[in-house]
């Protein structure tokens, strides 16, 4: 379609349903449906839902755009509608942080696409590579930097995540799953089209991604609030995707992990939303011991954390396997070690999540009388866990769809043997055998164990425990462990990560900006006479300039 805009007659914008766009559109629509299940339990204003619908529409515009102009419009509408959706619950400070970062992201994206346009007079993705190669090296670096800045802010890559955690924590519980599940995926989408259509700054992505995942994982371990923990976990998981997009054949792993991460974050945030709905609390230090009161929620969260930790045989391992093997193929060995390190550290926060909420002891009398969460919360979680279990058992089930995307982008397709077996040049992984063997072994061990003659007596109450000869009572502090990970502050290397925060940098930046505006205020006092003088000086300078 042609667009006549301010006399620019040569601007062509277009929409295109590529396989990649379809994949992300499926994620968006699916997540939207999952979130809709929660609507009956939240009495929110009409404008909230209208904005949610507008946000979803803008996401569709982003993924179906085939040029950077429409993409930018979608990006901007997404940022603004998210702002209004957040404004229902966010504190002023968190909201300001969000909008400043969102605008910085939009602005740098805008400058970048104008740079792209200025070289070749086209916004189309198909011309982007040509325009990029026509740039001078310095321009190319500036362009890449601006583009990555825009994307990294949306992804919450470390250093640019300052807005994200507060926004996730304070956002409406109905909206957080959507925010983490799909809105953050737009960053992934933008990165993928950037990598496929323009250039792949390999080492930058790999190093940024891996630093993000390690630092965010350790930050997550420290958190006391379930939503903040999951927000940091979200940053870390997207870090894996950024890392794997830094290698040549990494797109398969990135797409696979996007799928898994969307599903698992919807599951976990909906679960936590349910907990907050019935108890009104979200801090581990105020929860605990809910397992036998909410067994269904417990099992669903358990499935979620198994996936999040990347344990076989559920879906999380399949995507981790793809990420690991593509890093191994590319010989990024130290990066791979660091990714696996971060993945192993994640065991700590996933255990903290389930322990803090469901295990241990209730920290409050009220927690002993709560009931299971309503069906509105359970249904989406059941759907998501079935999906994650099926993907785990048949990890190659979704691969043909990914391969269509790979084909369209001229990338090496993902190899697989049958629906249950993923194959890489290093090894193969058969999800069905792992799942089946685990099920059989578990069943047999359980059978053997139950058939033992020895009787099992249930403990009288929760205080009937080994406690060094003492008898604990209501007053004894027994919910130990919600603060796990605090000890890491004593480890030099990790303390460095934990003590430093990007907020120091941004505080510094804010101070400098304040000082600068103080300075300007001295000249620009607001008095009409002064303004008039400034204007005259300006005109004289211009006049002198034009004479030269």
């Amino acid at each position: 379609m042609d667009l006549t805009l301010f006399g620019l007659t040569d601007i062509v914008v277009s929409l295109k349903a590529t396989n990649l766009a379809n994949f992300f559109a499926v994620l968006i629509s699916f997540s939207f449906v999952m979130v809709l299940f929660l609507v009956p339990k939240y009495k929110l204003s009409k404008s909230f839902y209208a904005l949610l619908a507008l946000l979803t529409a803008s996401l569709f515009l982003i993924v179906y755009a085939a040029d950077y102009l429409l993409f930018f419009i979608g990006w901007e509408v997404m940022s603004i509608t998210t702002y209004f959706l957040l404004s229902f619950t966010l504190s002023k400070e968190a909201l300001n942080k969000y909008i400043i970062f969102a605008m910085a992201s939009a602005l740098s994206l805008f400058i970048a696409i104008l740079m792209l346009y200025s070289t070749n007079h086209s916004f189309l993705y198909t011309d982007a590579k040509e325009s990029f190669s026509a740039m001078s090296p310095v321009m190319g670096i500036v362009f890449t930097g601006l583009m990555l800045l825009a994307i990294f802010i949306k992804l919450g890559t470390i250093g640019f995540h300052y807005w994200l955690v507060d926004a996730y924590e304070e956002s409406q519980n109905l909206f957080t799953p959507f925010l983490s599940g799909v809105v953050s995926k737009m960053g992934v989408y933008a990165l993928i089209i950037f990598v496929v259509n323009i250039t792949q700054p390999a080492y930058v992505l790999a190093v940024m991604g891996v630093m993000t995942s390690i630092i965010a994982t350790f930050k997550a371990i420290q958190e006391d609030s379930a939503k903040r923990l999951l927000a940091y976990s979200s940053i870390a998981q997207l870090g894996y995707i950024v890392t794997v997009l830094g290698v040549a054949d990494g797109m398969g792993g990135a797409l696979y992990h996007s799928l898994i991460h969307t599903a698992v974050k919807l599951l976990l945030f909906i679960n936590v939303a349910g907990i907050i709905y019935v108890t009104g609390r979200s801090k581990f230090s105020e929860l605990g011991g809910l397992i036998y009161r909410m067994p269904q929620s417990f099992v669903l969260l358990l499935i979620g954390i198994i996936v999040l930790a990347g344990m076989p045989p559920l879906g999380g391992f399949a995507s981790k396997f793809m990420i690991y093997t593509s890093l191994l193929d590319a010989k990024y060995l130290l990066i791979l070690s660091a990714v696996m390190f971060s993945s192993a550290s994640a065991f700590l926060y996933v255990y903290k999540l389930i322990y803090g909420i469901y295990l241990g002891h209730p920290t409050n009398k009220k927690l002993e009388s709560v009931k299971e969460v309503p069906l509105s919360f359970l249904i989406p979680q059941y759907i998501l866990s079935v999906i994650l279990i099926v993907i785990g058992t048949f990890p190659a089930l979704v691969v043909p769809y990914f391969n269509r995307i790979m084909e369209e982008s001229n990338l090496k397709s993902i190899t697989f043997d049958n629906t249950a077996t993923l194959v890489s040049s290093y090894a193969q992984y058969n999800g069905l055998v792992v799942m089946g063997a685990f099920a059989v072994v578990f069943a047999l061990v359980l059978l053997f164990f139950v058939s033992q003659r020895s009787k099992v007596k249930e403990a009288k109450d929760r205080f009937d425990i080994a406690y060094c000869g003492e008898e604990p009572n209501e007053a004894t502090h027994l919910h130990y462990g919600f603060g796990m990970g605090k000890e890491l502050k004593r480890v030099g290397f990790i303390a460095v990560i934990l003590k430093n925060s990007s907020s120091h940098f941004y505080d510094f930046l804010a101070k400098q900006v304040m000082a600068l505006s103080e300075l300007i205020r001295k000249i620009y006092t607001g008095k009409l006479s002064v303004n008039f003088n400034i204007a005259i000086i300006f005109v004289i300078i211009l006049f002198w300039w034009s004479l030269k």
Partner: protein, 295 residues
């Protein structure tokens, strides 16, 4: 056929595991100028625990904890072939790879951690916290070594890695081996990295709430798991084995080295252990990886 194979693997691991555990208690006793119990004492103890009249449970998740732990140990065993040649004692190794095994190694302990958390004993939770805090630091040098070995052998398949070694990886890449060994001492639950179950500080940690047949199951899984880990290490660094004699010899030498370290060192505090593991063996492993894969 495969069922018989798997059952035989299980029986062998169970018997050898308990034998090694008995020898461990004896050898450690000699280090401390004692005689130690008879070799089969641990085995007899575990059988005795199975026949205890009564044991206390704290609900179904607590009940399932040790069962998951046992399943995890057996799964690990099944995905590690005993021999590099032949068709017997191969288990399910052709369907898995080193990544699967690295994850299966922590599957059991994490499953049990849920049971421990449900048990409600603060000492259990303390033990789990200490274990998890140590876990990632302990895994890192091991991961780096395994990744380097995988890259060098061009395969993530354990049997291929084992059979491709003309000189043992332990001698070809000594730095990687040393780093992996330090981690391995921790993975075997030996001093100075035995922080989770430290009896003096945290009342035996994760095991503190388990009694009777729960404890029996935990003891049995420990025997199987120990043997599985030893076999894995032999495959990665000592060229695997082609017969039982070779396998037992290599695993036993490795075992002696590990318990000798365990007997002579005292226990680190948790942050000390993490600090040490992130500094010393990790540096060794990174240097080893760079030296081994340079060019």
């Amino acid at each position: 056929m495969i069922v018989v194979d798997l059952l035989l693997m299980l029986v062998v691991a169970y018997a050898v595991g308990f034998l090694y555990y008995g020898l461990y208690r004896n050898i450690t006793a000699r280090f401390q100028r004692r005689f130690g119990p008879p070799v089969w004492q641990s085995f007899i103890d575990s059988i005795k625990f199975f026949f205890k009249e009564e044991s206390t449970s704290h609900g179904w998740m607590f009940y399932l904890g040790p069962v998951i732990m046992m399943s995890g140990a057996i799964m690990t065993l099944f995905f590690i072939p005993f021999f590099t040649v032949g068709d017997t004692f191969q288990g399910l190794s052709q369907y898995g790879n080193a990544f699967v095994i690295l994850y299966l190694l922590v599957l059991g302990p994490l499953g049990n951690a849920l049971g421990v958390g449900t048990g409600g004993s603060p000492f259990g939770a303390m033990g789990i916290t200490r274990g998890l805090t140590r876990l990632f630091a302990m895994e890192l040098p091991f991961y780096i070594a395994v990744i380097a070995i995988m890259s060098l052998s061009g395969s993530a398949d354990i049997a291929t890695i084992a059979s491709e070694q003309t000189t043992f990886n332990a001698f070809a890449y000594p730095l990687l081996f040393i780093a992996a060994m330090i981690s391995f001492i921790g993975m075997m639950g030996q001093s100075p990295f035995d922080v989770p179950g430290a009896p003096v500080e945290v009342y035996s940690g994760p095991a503190s709430e388990f009694s009777g047949k729960f404890l029996a199951l935990l003891m049995s899984q420990s025997a199987i798991f120990t043997f599985a880990k030893l076999v894995l290490m032999v495959h990665l660094f000592l060229g695997g084995a082609s017969g039982f004699l070779e396998l037992l010899l290599k695993t036993f030498i490795l075992f002696i080295v590990v318990i000798a370290f365990g007997a002579i060192y005292g226990r680190f505090k948790t942050p000390q252990a993490v600090d040490f593991l992130l500094k010393v063996p990790t540096t060794i492993a990174v240097v080893g990886l760079i030296l081994a894969t340079w060019s």
